[in-house]
Amino acid sequence: MASQKRIQKELAECTKSPPQGMTIALASESNLHKWHVTLQGPPNSPYAGGTFGLVVSLPVEYPFKAPTVTFSTRIYHPNVTNDSQGSICLGALKAENWKPASKLLGVLEAVRGLLVEPMPDDPLEARIADEYKNDRKEFEKNAKAYVARYAKGAPKYEEPTAAGEAKS
């Protein structure tokens, strides 16, 4: 746990000037390694009007190992698994690309950017990626349906292991 200074400063940086539409808080005051983030769907995207929950987990070896970021709110997106896991495919978070100099602020900005502009060529959900490329109208219709169904109201940060911990 020798990275406390680093994490505290990153947290301060992210809460002070968060990426557009985001608010950041610790899942629990005693644990710097789990963050809860709310993300307002970017206005110029099919996700506009939705409020999404993100869970940021910093491994013990942070910043030498990449953090993990997952959607705790279901979302219809080529780069996010269409299940309760909400895993994100983000180049910067892959183990081989992560560098200790990378910062969480940049990671969060990249997640937001993914909603504005999905990357269908590097998909987690191949079917949604195909739809995004070949039938954009159908994609947007489905994405908006998901927003209406899952992303209205305050996000929940449900996690299998720490269900009682979720408070924002």
Partner: protein
């Protein structure tokens, strides 16, 4: 069907991407006798067998370093702190701490590296506090380097030092030959030096040497254990000027063992004064002790005599230039008969052993056979022949592996020569056993014709 195949491929790729090698042992292990490496390679191919057999002659111990992709950084970092500890100078450690922690880290906000810098600072303070007790300081060092979290911080700070040196060096163009053209200096820093788990390369060692070791006069010597032909590991030093210098003229040296893609730390045998001490003990157990002990200077001389005889022992090549055969005659027993000696032996033998003149003062009965050996040995012919005819017997390292691929010197010509392991002068001496089932007449015929011929 095809999608199944693609899914399989994707799963395989994912597995390969996420594969974590199963790493065993501590990050930095304990000092271990180096013959463990020899045993490890006992069944490898002959080049490795030969080189690892020779390794314990130079290096007594090694310290295994975990091969997680950071081992080169880990080994050099550990070696640096260990060398500081060996100086026993707490004020030097303090000065180095200031130098390192104040070195300008380029292109990163302080937020990125302050935790790492703090760990370096804490470690060096702890070391300085433990000195001059070097053992306690080493305990601190080993403990810190085996704490994964602390070690990550320490090693990454070294990476940042190296990359900052590269970015800030006005002569950085000299390094361009080591850097893939398409990525350039910044790309090299980002994708090689600053990527955790990315193994150090030659350029990384040069940079780390320049930024970390050069200012305090340290030297890295790397022993390369690879498939290149040769009787022993090749060594190379950073800086290049240090190659070929006597180690006593250089600053603190850290020794590394390089095997393809991996670094460990080596420890050479202590300087030659130590073995002499050991020999004093050994000489005192000789049966002639009562003649030696009254006279201390003689005892010193005697230890020198015995020291040279040490090279008789396989694996203890104190004097590899002298063929082991000739040394053996120096301490030969009285009944020794000189006839099997090769005619070219005496010249280097007498030249290379100055102790011969001291022998008569030592012990009358020991000097007699030696002198006789010299006087009886044939003199006139070998003046024209080269003083030393090189054969594999000149190399103790080779002589050691000799047993494993030994040709049989039991023909009539060689039977009575020292090439036969049944000859007591053979380094792999193995007395012949009497086996009644063998035809006795063989020996009767062999003996008269086994007269020594030149070979």
């Amino acid at each position: 069907m095809e999608s199944d195949l693609n899914a399989d491929l994707a799963a395989q790729e994912a597995a390969a991407r996420e594969y974590q090698p199963h790493l065993e042992g501590p990050l930095v292990g304990d000092r271990t006798p180096s013959h463990v490496i020899t045993e490890e390679y006992a069944k490898a191919d002959p080049v490795y067998v030969q080189k690892t057999l020779a390794l314990p002659q130079t290096y007594s111990h090694y310290r295994p370093v975990q091969g997680d992709g950071n081992c080169g950084w880990r080994a050099i970092g550990f070696g640096y702190f260990e060398a500081l500890i060996r100086t026993g100078d707490a004020s030097l450690v303090g000065a180095e701490r200031d130098r390192i922690t104040q070195y300008p880290i380029l292109d990163h906000s302080e937020m990125v590296y302050e935790d790492m810098r703090d760990e370096v600072s804490i470690l060096m303070n702890d070391i300085a506090a433990a000195l001059p007790n070097q053992g306690a300081a080493m305990d601190v060092l080993v403990q810190k380097f085996n704490d994964l979290d602390v070690a990550n911080h320490l090693l990454y700070y070294l990476r940042l030092l190296a990359s900052s040196w590269l970015k800030g060096d006005p002569n950085a163009n000299e390094y361009l030959g080591f850097i893939p053209e398409e990525i350039g200096i910044i790309g090299y820093c980002q994708n090689y030096l600053e990527l955790p788990g990315r193994e150090i390369e030659h350029l990384g060692i040069m940079l780390l040497y320049n930024v970390l070791l050069k200012p305090c006069g340290m030297v890295i010597e790397i022993a390369y254990l690879d498939r290149t032909p040769g009787p022993a590991v090749n060594t190379y030093r950073f800086p290049a000027e240090a190659n070929g210098c006597d180690p006593s003229t250089l600053g603190p040296i850290m020794y590394l063992l390089f095997r393809p893609d991996h670094y460990d730390i080596l420890y050479p045998h202590p300087p030659p004064t130590a073995p002499v001490d050991i020999q004093v003990n050994r000489a005192s157990s000789f049966s002639h002790e009562h003649q030696i002990t009254p006279n201390m200077p003689s005892l010193q001389n005697f230890t020198e005599v015995d020291l040279s005889a040490l090279s008789l022992i396989p694996g203890l090549g104190l004097n590899p230039g002298v063929p082991s055969m000739s040394v053996s005659t120096a301490s030969s027993i009285e009944s020794y008969s000189p006839s099997p000696q090769s005619p070219w032996m005496p010249t280097p033998f007498t030249d290379s052993l100055p102790i011969r003149q001291q022998q008569p003062q030592l012990k009358q009965e020991q000097s007699v056979p030696s002198l006789r050996a010299v006087s009886v040995l044939p003199q006139p012919v070998q003046r024209q022949t080269p003083p030393l005819r090189f054969s594999e017997y000149c190399h103790p390292q080779l002589a050691e592996t000799y047993a494993s691929r030994e040709p049989c010197f039991t023909t009539n010509t060689f039977k009575n020569s020292h090439f036969n392991t049944a000859h007591y002068n053979n380094p792999n001496f193995q007395p012949e056993e009497y086996r009644p089932e063998l035809d006795d007449s063989f020996y009767e015929v062999a003996r008269p014709t086994g007269k020594r011929r030149s070979h």
